[in-house]
């Protein structure tokens, strides 16, 4: 069987890059803007001149919540991170208690393995 589609396969390629240890973002060549999550076309413009570029991994906490669990299991963090390249993504901040993650905190991306798949998390920078 031949695969008929051409161009970007967003989710598959994103995960393959992550599995190779690289956090990659899709960028439109003409607009110069990065997007997250990866898509087959840039929002609003519809640009399909997309290329993968490596993210710096630098980010800032935009919003944060500590999700409580049944004690004694500690709460875990869920945060929205503004990436230095512009887009925002959901992730979590590790290395500090879930409740101590602060909005505006500078963070740095790290790829971990969780449940058998690569996953991007952040640490305080």
């Amino acid at each position: 069987m031949t695969e008929r589609s051409t161009g970007i396969r967003p989710e598959r390629e994103y995960r393959e890059h992550l599995a190779d240890g690289r956090f990659m973002l899709l960028r439109s060549r003409s607009s110069g803007r990065c997007m997250f999550y990866p898509r087959v076309a840039e929002p609003v413009t519809g640009n399909t001149d997309l290329e993968w570029v490596e993210a710096s991994g630098d980010g800032t906490v935009y919003a944060t919540t500590a999700v409580n669990q049944r004690p004694p299991t500690p709460a875990y963090n869920v945060a929205l991170i503004d990436l230095a390249e512009g887009p925002r993504m959901m992730s979590r901040v590790e290395g500090v208690a879930a409740e101590d993650v602060r909005i505006g905190m500078p963070v740095k991306a790290r790829i971990i393995d969780e449940d058998g798949a690569p996953l991007l998390v952040f640490d305080p920078a």
Partner: protein
Amino acid sequence: MNGFPRGKTAIVGSATYGIGKNPGLSSMDIAVNASIRALSAAGMKPGDVDALFICLPDNFLSGLTFAEYLGIQPKITENNRTGGSAFLTHLQSACLALDAGLCDVALIAYGSNQLSGAGKPVTPTGAAPYEGPYKPRLPVSAYALAASRHMHEYGTTPEQLAEVAVSARQWANLNPDAWMQGDLSVDDVLAARRVSTPLGIRDCCLVTDGGAAIVVTRADRARDHASAPAYVLGAAAATFHHNISQMPDLTVTAASESGPQAFAQAGVKPSDIDVVELYDAFTINPILFMEDLGFCAKGEGGAFFENGHTAPGGAQPVNTNGGGLSCVHPGMYGLFTLVEATQQVTGAAGARQVAGAKLALAHGSGGYLSSQATVILGAGETV
């Protein structure tokens, strides 16, 4: 020309059914029970309906099933599902279709047995691939993130969030149909178990069964069917995103577009509105919506709910049935805002009636603050 046939259509029947628990009834059974009640209030039968607007939590083709169930053959079968805002967008479409003469009697219906059925919120969408691995406890974590940002930018406090729940409970205590009743203080809300900070369990809407329905006709027929029709003066909607990570600004919802548009259609302003019925899935919602709808400046929504301002006896009654926080929350609450707004402007709200209420605003929210729809209803003298 403002894009909406102001006052040309009216709600002539409205009802709720089965608020609480209904073992042995399907979501469809509950929606039909509510519809029969609403039609009966309008002096109609299912066979009179020629336009059907519905979405159920557990049936993606519910328009077809509902038509079959009641033996009706609608000219318009609308299954639009934008989440909890869907029923207000249904009303927008129904009014346009009625005014254009495409149909004569529109029924908008909803029902859910999520408490006695699944026993937990039913969601029609799976985990988003880029959010799911981080295990946000949806929907609450999405709203918790929005609350965290609002607190950061505007100094909104947990006490102010709690005031939203306290106000809702005080209204619920006046509503015999409300599922949760009894005293509730700010301290009670703050002491309740945290779910996803800053939100605790009393910041979260209920999980109940329940159904609602409204019947809409053209204004020229309305007085034949209701002693006091609720005229539709404006209806507008806007969508900004779906997943919370894609919301452009967590402190500004699409109500900032649907609200001003609905007010322009109706030719009224926020200070004219007697009662406000908002989709209060979580305590942050009414704070965001009162700001975005123009009842107060951005950032002042928390203070708006202090000192009983929105509670019984307050200057700006909000969620007079007790809302999703204390009255009913069967998965998608939107249609209940329209039923309560109708009851208030037609003087049918019993012990919780706001004296002299002539103008009501109903507002629905779908997804994660994603899709917003605003409707303004008025009594006869407002047309």
